[in-house]
């Protein structure tokens, strides 16, 4: 029971820190000492205290966007095992709920963007839904591989690091899955090289351009939700690449947090060493991700 | 009794020819029709009819056909007075007389068991019909009549030759020469094959011309297109049934002979050919009366196809003769009304019939749906039975072709019919004096109801009659 509270606590508190770590890493690479690690927290608090501006064209849909985005991320977080600790909510088919929760969030954030009636935000919404059409199958192929390997239909058991078929069979597919998941993670969370969260050229943005009109608490919820999404998907990836455990309950928590921060560093490194791709290449990479995971499945079915 | 059956109508015909008044003469037609219907009722229910030492007999098949033709004629005759009232400008003396004469001659065809006599009667029917086609006295009707007459007569002449061949086939084997159906059926196994073979072909072509089977159907679109709807209905429902009966007679003989397989083969072939020809010509058909003619060609094809298949299909074919006839009654009469209302029968001018004619228009559409075999309707049951028979007898490809052709015909007719009934009528059409009157639509409604009822429930007596007729044709004596 206490584990559940720890899980929820981590889910609520840790996500912004990842952003902080990423920014710090990039700063160090750039030779600056950069913003403090806790900067994202200050931003969120500031945003929550600000007032808001609403476009005259908007309706309830515009306000629903951020709320739904955050709520779905939260619930999705409850379905993912953190480290060795099984998820608070876990049942056969929860991975499907996991994927569809993010789809629900996407539906409303994109709608909210269209609600403003701005050409740029429409553009962003279009890109968001378009790319996810390619990301979704990739994600599901990964799930298929994991389900086959772990002979189960629930994320907790999929990710508990035990493979009835034996590590020999599992390893090749898992590598492919990890690669695929990493690409999906970067795209879905609009990271370099696919998207640049702090660019200032609207024409080239995907996620950020959708939220141009949100302000104050709404913007805060959006950023918080985004961070949480990154965290949750990161947790999945972490379990695939490093299903380690340290026997002791609290040590496992520590291991998990360390792992997440490590992942953040990796992302930071990637963002520092790579340039942003042209928009037209994004689909190519997503298709590649799909193919990787398809091979993963085929390896198992042969 | 047999005598009355065909003499009474002729009497009425004479009466009509003599009658002075153009106004009440038409009423002789329904009168004659009713009398004939009553006589038929008596004949059918009473003791077996036979006269003239077996020349005139009422066997199961002829009972069926007679009842149907008599009913058909009666319903059409109800329509006649109102129709002729629409055409006061022209004398209907010849028209009425010929209608009644036609009835008499058809009756004679049906009850004749002497093939020569039957031939005479059929030729007489042709001659009696010619003036009916010519009723409109327009150049086009003249052309139609000429074609009908010449092609019909030539065909019939061939049939006569065929009849002679048949007779000779018995002489040749040194048997007692005869043209009596029953004797021939019994002698069939002994008849000389080559003569019988030739005879069957000649008769099929000859009476096939009369029935309108492809490729002898060429007169049909012209005749049906130019004739008044009433006459069209009688031709498509009555006369063709008589010709069909004639073909049945000779099939009866052949199926006892070694020629049976050949006969079946030919019948199936002609049946499919007729359906195919109809399919080709209904596509993009502009003239909805000619379309009906081709539909009639198609259904004649279905009839002979069913006979060729045999077994359950024979039952289906006999039933189809009735259901198709009734449905054709609906279509021709309503088409006639539409023609009157728009005075055009081309889909270029005719549209919105459902608005222009609140009763005839929908009936026309309903008739189309029925005749193309949409359930629930009489033709559906009969066609379905034929299909089952076809599959039962293992003619899978025939069944496939059958369905495919039905589909094509449906597309062709559907396009034309919908163009007629849907949309908004032109102002010119709204201006014409014609309006749906009770006398003009009630017969159609009766036809429709009968056809529909046959689709939902076949009366027990009729079912028995059909069953007997089928077994009688298939050689079992009942």
């Amino acid at each position: 029971m206490s584990q559940i509270f720890v899980h929820i606590f981590i889910l609520l508190v840790l996500p912004p820190l990842l952003l902080g770590v990423i920014v710090k890493t990039k700063a160090l690479f750039a030779g600056r000492n950069g913003a403090p690690l806790l900067q994202p927290y200050y931003d969120l608090i500031r945003l929550f205290q600000k007032g808001s501006v609403f476009s005259t064209t908007t309706t309830w849909v515009f306000r629903a966007g951020p709320v739904v985005g955050l709520a779905t991320a939260l619930l999705a977080g409850m379905l993912i095992p953190f480290g060795r600790h099984s998820a608070p909510v876990s049942f056969a088919g929860d991975m499907i709920l996991f994927a569809y929760l993010f789809a629900l969030g996407r539906f409303f954030t994109a709608s909210a963007a269209l609600d403003t009636g701005s050409a740029f935000e429409g553009m962003g919404a279009a890109r968001e839904v378009t790319f996810s059409c390619l990301a979704e199958p990739a994600l599901f192929f990964c799930f298929l591989v994991l389900a086959k390997l772990s002979a189960s239909l629930s994320l907790t058991t999929m990710l508990d690091g035990t493979f009835p078929l034996g590590a020999g069979v599992a390893a090749p597919s898992l590598v492919l899955v990890a690669a695929s998941l990493f690409i999906v993670l970067l795209v879905e969370n609009s990271r370099i090289p696919f998207d640049d969260p702090n660019t200032h050229l609207e024409l080239t943005m995907i996620h950020e351009v959708m939220v141009l009109d949100h302000s104050g608490p709404a913007l805060g919820m959006i950023q918080y939700g985004a961070a949480m999404k990154l965290f949750v998907m990161g947790a999945v990836l972490l379990r695939v690449v490093a299903p380690f455990e340290a026997g002791n309950v609290w040590a496992d928590w520590g291991l998990f947090i360390a792992g997440m921060l490590g992942l953040a560093v990796v992302i930071g490194v990637v963002e520092s060493v790579m340039a942003r791709f042209r928009m037209v290449f994004v689909p190519t990479f997503l298709v590649a991700a799909c193919l990787l995971s398809v091979f993963g499945v085929i390896l198992l079915l042969r | 009794m047999a005598w009355y059956l065909f003499l009474v109508p002729l009497m009425f015909a004479a009466l009509a020819a003599a009658a002075p008044s153009n106004r009440w003469r038409p009423w002789l037609v329904p009168a004659g029709g009713l009398t004939h219907l009553v006589l038929t009722g008596i004949a059918v229910t009473g003791e077996p009819v036979s006269a003239l030492k077996g020349w005139l007999v009422l066997d199961p098949v002829s009972t069926l056909v007679l009842g149907f033709v008599s009913l058909m004629f009666f319903l059409c005759s109800l329509y006649a007075p109102a129709y002729l009232a629409l055409r006061p400008e022209r004398s209907n003396r010849v028209f009425c007389a010929c209608l009644l004469a036609m009835l008499g001659m058809m009756t004679l065809v049906i009850i004749a068991h002497h093939l020569g006599l039957m031939w005479v009667a059929i030729e007489a029917t042709t001659l009696a019909t010619a003036p009916l086609l010519f009723f409109n006295h327009s150049p086009r009707s003249l052309e139609a009549t000429w074609k009908y007459l010449l092609i019909g007569s030539v065909g019939i002449a061939l049939a006569l030759l065929g009849t002679f061949f048949l007779a000779y086939s018995s002489i040749h084997e040194g048997l007692e020469p005869t043209l009596l159906l029953d004797d021939l059926v019994n002698l069939a196994p002994k008849l000389s094959p080559p003569w019988l073979h030739a005879a069957f072909v000649l008769l099929l072509v000859g009476y096939g011309t009369k029935m309108g089977l492809a490729p002898m159907h060429t007169w049909k679109p012209d005749a049906y297109g130019e004739a008044p709807g009433l006459v069209g209905a009688l031709l498509a429902g009555g006369v063709t049934s008589c010709a069909f009966l004639a073909i049945l007679r000779f099939y009866q003989i052949c199926r006892n002979a070694p020629e049976a397989a050949f006969a079946r083969e030919i019948l199936i072939f002609i049946g499919l050919l007729s359906m195919a020809v109809a399919a080709v010509f209904v596509i993009r058909q502009r003239d909805f009366k000619r379309m009906l003619a081709y539909s009639s060609v198609e259904h004649m094809g279905i009839l002979v196809l069913g006979i060729g298949i045999g077994g359950m299909a024979t039952f289906g074919a006999l039933l189809h003769m009735i259901t198709n006839g009734l449905t054709k009654g609906v279509m021709f009469l309503s088409a006639g009304n539409i023609h009157r209302a728009y005075d055009s029968k081309s889909t270029d001018d005719v549209r919105g019939a459902m608005q222009r004619l609140p009763i005839s228009g929908p009936l026309f559409l309903a008739g189309f749906l029925m005749v193309t075999g949409s359930p629930p309707g009489g033709p559906f049951i009969s066609e379905f039975t034929i299909l089952i028979g076809t599959i039962q007898s293992g003619h899978y490809w025939v069944a496939g072709l059958f369905l495919a052709l039905l589909a094509i015909v449906f597309i062709g007719m559907g396009a034309t019919v919908l163009r007629v009934v849907q949309g908004v009528p032109t102002a010119k059409a709204m201006a014409t004096p014609y309006r749906d009157r009770p006398q003009l639509v009630i017969p159609i409604i009766v036809f429709f109801v009968l056809a529909l009822v046959l689709g939902i429930w076949i009366p027990h007596s009729l079912h028995d009659q059909l069953q007997q007729a089928a077994t009688y044709l298939e050689g079992g004596h009942s």
């Binding site: 005259t56 269209l114 609600d115 979704e136 919820m221 | 010449l150 092609i151 072909v201 949409s374 089952i388």
Partner: protein, 648 residues
């Protein structure tokens, strides 16, 4: 008892339009009577069907009212009644004196026909009901037969439905020859040779595929749905195409020992239909055509479930049967609910703006808030997103497909697993398509005057939508309530092996779904509350949309539906093949320019129409033989005579 309630319900519906024919003085009386009769009939029918779920009735030789029939009857009655209420305002007799009566008459007939098909246990009766349904639907589609495009849609529909009827002829004829009776019941093993069984299977896939609008038999569906009045579209798309599914589900279950490839091919067809359906939906500019193509997509999903169940039956894996069939049946319900909801709300838009063109609408959420909300609910549901009903049925199918990998002790038929990923693709595309539709129609700024002056519809139209939306939510939140009914359906599908069926509850996390659903709702409410409180406590300013510094934004600068779908469309350009007609780039100072793109239907416009043109040309060549020359006619006779004489 309950069968008589159903029969009474059918009769009520059949007669619902009749009184209106005789009430001429006061236009509203007839339609009120019709609605009352329809509602009464539906209440009777639904009660009877629900009762029949637990004690099925068999009135051989005519009628069978078992779980499967009941499951299909319930949406028929529900949607039909709601539609006729909706019609009171949408197609008020006062506004449409010329065709209102006709519409209501045939509306009743269609409902009766549909219900008749569902309960028929005799092939002749089946075909009667079938044709009554099909033909009445034709008259509904051509309600406005003064419009040319309506007439064309009507002809197309009529031809296609007759094709499927002819296939039924063949099907039932063979059935009769095989069984020797018109009674419809399961064929005992070995009743037919494998060849005949295959022929039957192919025939029924074609016949019912046409009615269900399964790719590639969908050709009639888009135009018919677009041209019909909206409550009719709701009925057709919601329940009429499901009767095709009914036929498929029912008859397939009666064919003995199916080979695996049957289920496999169904699975493939379903996937194809699902993906292409939604892809073509992306290309549409007409709101109702878009919804119509989504029907094709959802039919595909249903058939996927059925195919899975069939595979399970061939390999004798009960879990696949249960999950696949339960998913299919539940999706039949769900699609009936949310697609009807979507068509009704689309109708409400059309009713107030008089246009179906998406790119002329926009900003309606402000003027028609209720309609917008209902459309949003429908959209979320049809995308299969939690916490609504669409998610539940798709989850079942997902679980079944995942299980084909061979989870635990079950055998593995991994090919099917790819369908799971395709289903994910379908879901994502559906989200894209409905964001586009919802956004372009209801959000942003009005793109035309008609959209600018839109007004909310009255109670008679919003009421039915409310009911449907509520049903979507209920099924989505408490699926364990419908679980047992589906179990009955599954059991009825395989009467021979009722024993040892794992109950749906053990295979699908019904309880957890509702936990998750309620949690989600709770979170939404909580966060929503916090947010609103936060906003209300702080300073709020209203301003124009931030347009990145552009001087004079106009409504035309919004992202339109076409531009929204442009990028996705470019991925599928190989199948969509849009015909673009645009004035190209211009000089330094561009003048007026135009852009128009149109997506043809792959099967209809690019295969069938050309083929038919060839047939027409061929036949017009052959017309030469009927050239009016009597000499030619006579020579045909001679030639034919000689041919026949030389035949043998």
């Amino acid at each position: 008892m309950n069968e008589w309630m159903v029969i009474a319900g059918i009769i009520c519906h059949a007669l619902s339009g009749v009184p209106g024919l005789f009430v001429r003085h006061d236009p509203s009386t007839g339609q009120r009577l019709a609605a009352v009769l329809a509602v009464a009939g539906s209440v009777l029918g639904i009660t009877g069907s629900l009762a029949a779920l637990w004690n099925p009735v068999q009135l051989i030789p005519l009628m069978r009212l078992d779980a499967i029939a009941a499951i299909f009857l319930i949406p028929i009655f529900l949607v039909s009644a709601l539609g006729s209420i909706y019609g009171l305002e949408y197609w008020a007799q006062a506004d449409h004196p010329e065709n209102g009566r006709k519409l209501r008459l045939f509306y009743g007939f269609v409902t009766a026909g549909l219900a008749g098909v569902a309960v028929a246990a005799n092939s002749i009766l089946f075909m009667f009901a079938w044709e009554v349904m099909a033909l009445s639907a034709f008259f509904l589609v051509t309600t406005e037969d003064d419009k040319r495009e309506v007439r064309e849609a009507g002809l197309l529909y009529l031809v296609v439905t007759h094709f499927s009827t002819l296939c039924l002829f063949a099907l039932f004829a063979i059935w009769y020859v095989a069984t020797g009776s018109f009674a419809l019941a399961a064929l005992p093993p070995g009743a037919v040779t494998p060849t005949v069984a295959t022929v039957l299977f192919v025939l029924l896939v074609i016949a019912f595929g046409f009615k269900a609008g399964l790719m590639p038999f969908h050709i009639w569906l888009p135009s018919a749905h677009a041209m019909a009045p909206s409550q009719v579209s709701a009925l057709m798309s919601g329940v009429m195409i499901k009767i095709g599914i009914y036929g498929l589900v029912r008859m397939v279950s009666w064919l003995p020992d199916p080979p695996v490839w049957w289920g496999g091919s169904l699975l493939a067809l379903g996937t194809l239909s699902g993906v292409l359906g939604v892809v073509f939906a992306l290309g549409q500019h007409d709101l109702k055509r878009l919804l119509a193509y989504h029907s094709i997509e959802n039919i595909g999903i249903i058939v996927m479930g059925l195919g899975l169940a069939l595979v399970g039956r061939s390999l004798n894996v009960k879990a696949w049967i249960v999950l696949g069939l339960a998913g299919a049946l539940l999706h039949v319900w769900n699609h009936g609910l949310f697609k009807a909801l979507l068509f009704l709300s689309a109708g409400s838009v059309i009713h107030s703006t008089r246009t179906r063109t998406i790119d002329q609408l926009g900003g309606l959420a402000a003027t028609m808030p209720r309609t917008a909300l209902f459309f949003a609910i429908g959209a979320v549901a049809i995308c299969g997103l939690p916490p609504l009903n669409g998610f539940v049925s798709e989850l079942f199918i997902y679980l079944g497909l995942f299980r084909t990998l061979g989870i635990g002790t079950e055998p593995s038929w991994g090919v099917a697993a790819f369908a799971a990923a395709m289903l994910a693709l379908i879901g994502a595309l559906a989200v894209a398509c409905f964001v586009k539709a919802f956004g372009a129609v209801f959000l942003g700024v009005a793109r035309s005057d008609s959209a600018l002056h839109a007004h909310e519809s009255g109670r008679a139209m919003t009421g039915p939508m409310l009911v449907l939306a509520a049903c979507c939510l209920i099924i989505g939140l408490i699926p364990w309530a419908v679980g047992p009914m589906l179990g009955k359906g599954v059991a009825a599908w395989m009467p021979d092996s009722v024993v040892g069926f794992p109950p749906l509850g053990t295979l699908a996390p019904l309880g957890w779904i509702s936990v998750a659903g309620f949690t989600l709702v709770g979170l939404l409410m909580g966060l929503g509350a916090i947010y609103t409180v936060r906003v209300s406590r702080s300073r709020v300013a209203a301003a124009g949309t931030w347009d990145c510094g552009y001087a004079a934004p106009t409504p035309n600068m919004q992202y339109t539906a076409s531009s929204f779908a442009q990028m996705l469309g470019s991925f599928f350009v190989w199948v969509l093949r849009p015909q673009v007609n645009a004035s190209g780039k211009q000089a330094v100072f561009p003048g007026r320019t135009h852009f128009h793109s149109h997506v043809m239907d792959l099967v209809l416009d690019e295969v069938l129409r050309p083929a038919y043109q060839i047939v027409v040309r061929l036949s017009s060549w052959l017309h030469f033989f009927q050239a009016g020359n009597i000499h030619a006619y006579l020579s045909y006779i001679v030639i034919f005579l000689i041919v026949l004489l030389l035949w043998r």
